[in-house]
């Protein structure tokens, strides 16, 4: 079965306090040199049948209407080999 990954990230202009909290914790834990952290979501979809243009178009539609809220989030669809 083929795997398609949808990565969802807050748009760059949207404040991400969760990412900031992670970033602020890093020096205390001994991880230096990280200037910024943004937190997102990753969806792994196990696709039945071929991952052709039609299947990818459906996944794109799914991401746009459901997995991401495009008012605040961007998404990327990737086929994993």
């Amino acid at each position: 079965m083929a795997r398609v990954v949808v990565d969802v990230m807050l748009k760059p202009e949207i404040l991400d306090p969760q990412g900031q909290a992670v970033q602020r914790a890093l020096p205390r834990l001994g991880f230096a040199g990280i200037a910024d952290v943004r937190q997102g979501k990753r969806f792994e979809l196990e696709v039945e049948g071929p991952v052709d243009d039609a299947a990818l178009a459906r996944i794109h539609e799914m991401a746009e209407t459901f997995l991401a809220n495009t008012v605040i989030e961007d998404f990327v669809v990737k086929v994993e080999s």
């Binding site: 404040l15 306090p17 605040i72």
Partner: protein
């Protein structure tokens, strides 16, 4: 004759009983609606109450927005039926694109529960006619994902059209842009806000005031006079 006000229960809704009670105290006939039922039971208006429908999975309101009852509510709201979204209900309305913008995690990352002062800035909506323009009210606020965001163009449009219906006073509790606590659609029938008017309808509980009752008396007057 009175009006029928429906309140939807999703899995994880918490404040449906308070909303039904508020509708009854205002003189309306409260009607329970079920998330899996497309039938709105001939209600004249709908309240989407607070809580954590579907556990806020994915995003607050993101899954509820696709439930069977919402299909009918979205269709009817576009045709003019009054809809009030409180807290999680507001989140559902933005996810359904009945209201612009989106709700995100509070900027300080803490759950907040406090009595909150608001200014009523638009009394022309179906749910706010019993208030006076600029009136200050105090109702409970309790949420995790209460930070209202929209892009600058949408914010400017909302301000220009007077569609910022409620603004936080004294303190901005969650980082909402331009202190926005609630908004209305252009037609004034769909209103959403983060604070909870349904918890401030009797002197015994909530803030000790009845500042929230006006939402329910407003809609009742509108429906009965219609």
């Amino acid at each position: 004759m009175t009006a029928r006000i429906g309140v939807v229960t999703f899995p994880g809704t918490l404040d449906d009983q308070d909303a039904l009670r508020a509708a009854r105290l205002a003189g309306a006939e409260p009607v329970s609606l079920w998330h899996r039922d497309k039938d709105l039971k001939q209600v004249d208006a709908v309240v989407l109450a607070g809580g954590f429908s579907y556990g806020d999975y994915l995003r607050a309101g993101a899954i509820s927005r696709f439930s069977p009852v919402m299909e009918t509510i979205i269709e009817q709201a576009k045709a003019g039926m009054p809809v009030l979204g409180i807290c999680n209900g507001f989140q559902i309305l933005t996810e359904a694109h009945l209201l612009p913008g989106a709700m995100l995690r509070n900027n300080h990352l803490h759950f907040i529960c406090r009595d909150q002062k608001l200014r009523v800035e638009n009394t022309g909506t179906a749910w706010t006619s019993d208030y006076t323009e600029g009136q200050e009210i105090e109702v409970p606020l309790k949420n995790m994902d209460g930070r209202y965001v929209a892009d600058e163009r949408v914010l400017d449009e909302l301000e220009a059209e007077g569609r910022v219906a409620f603004r936080y006073l004294d303190v901005n509790p969650n980082g909402s842009l331009r202190d926005i606590a609630g908004i209305t659609n252009a037609a004034g029938n769909v209103v959403g806000l983060m604070p909870h008017p349904e918890h401030a309808v009797e002197p015994l509980v909530g803030t000790g005031k009845t500042d929230g009752l006006g939402f329910f008396t407003s809609i009742l007057k509108k429906l009965v006079n219609a």
